[in-house]
Symmetry: C2
Subunit: 163 residues, 2 copies
């Protein structure tokens, strides 16, 4: 089945990483949706993801704990909104399990959209971070969105090649 | 098709209105999902809903403008999360169109879950407001959740009987 899956970008509020990678969509999907894989690629080294919980359904939790090189731990919990296997994954940090609103004042709040399309033997990979205002988008960009998400994607691809 | 549609209540954080009404689920659904109907019942009189926009899909906008008896207008925008015809409607005020996070500091932020089940010739109607903390739940209760949502439901039923 071919679907048209798009997101209308707002260049002032959204950040996007788009790249063709040489691993197929089902492996990218596995890397994103299985905790044992997420822990291996999700945070650019030397940061680590030391815990991960995934309840892969709309309303299900996506929880991670990141650890800084100095050993400080940063727990995050979000909520899946759309789960279309091998094609589209959406979750938001504005909600936690069962769509419960949550306040996360220290982090630029965003909704993430991951789009996967077959591209030859590989995948056209699109990751979008959707923010509520320009301040959050700028803060996220300044924190290194493009470099960070790009480096994490390198790690994902390296892992996916070994699956 | 019979589904098991439940929400695990947190009594400290959630407010619930449950009632059997003598109109069938498809009319309750119509009242909730068509702007011309929403404008007729959504706000307890003498408040009015003077505008309503509905894009009935996960990620679609649910926007209303309420008007106080003194003529002051209060715009609200939320985002649909689940849309299962005649059975379940979920939207959140934590997000707006296309899952974009939004800050609505003046209102107790909540996600709403509306569950409809056939009950004889009528409907078992369950409305749940899910909050992120006890303060928001209490504020919403103090604002008159039970009376307000109950009176609005009376208006919905009166409208549905005339459909």
């Amino acid at each position: 089945m071919t679907r048209t899956i798009t997101h209308k970008l707002d260049p002032k509020l959204d950040l996007m990483l788009e790249r063709v990678v040489d691993v197929p969509p089902n492996r990218v999907w596995a890397a994103w949706t299985r905790p044992e894989y997420v822990k291996k690629w999700f945070t650019p080294a030397p940061w680590q993801t030391v815990d991960c919980e995934i309840d892969l359904r709309p309303g299900g939790i996506f929880r991670t704990v990141m650890r800084s090189p100095e050993g400080q731990e940063f727990p995050n919990a979000g909520c899946y909104l759309e789960v279309i296997e091998n094609e589209k994954l959406v979750w938001t940090a504005a909600l936690t399990a069962d769509y419960r609103p949550q306040n996360v004042p220290s982090v630029p709040l965003f909704t993430a959209v991951i789009l996967l399309e077959p591209h030859g033997a590989g995948t056209k990979y699109t990751a979008i971070a959707i923010h509520g205002d320009e301040e959050a988008a700028k803060k996220h960009a300044d924190m290194g969105f493009h470099g960070g998400w790009g480096k994490a994607l390198d790690q994902l691809v390296a892992l996916a090649k070994k699956m």
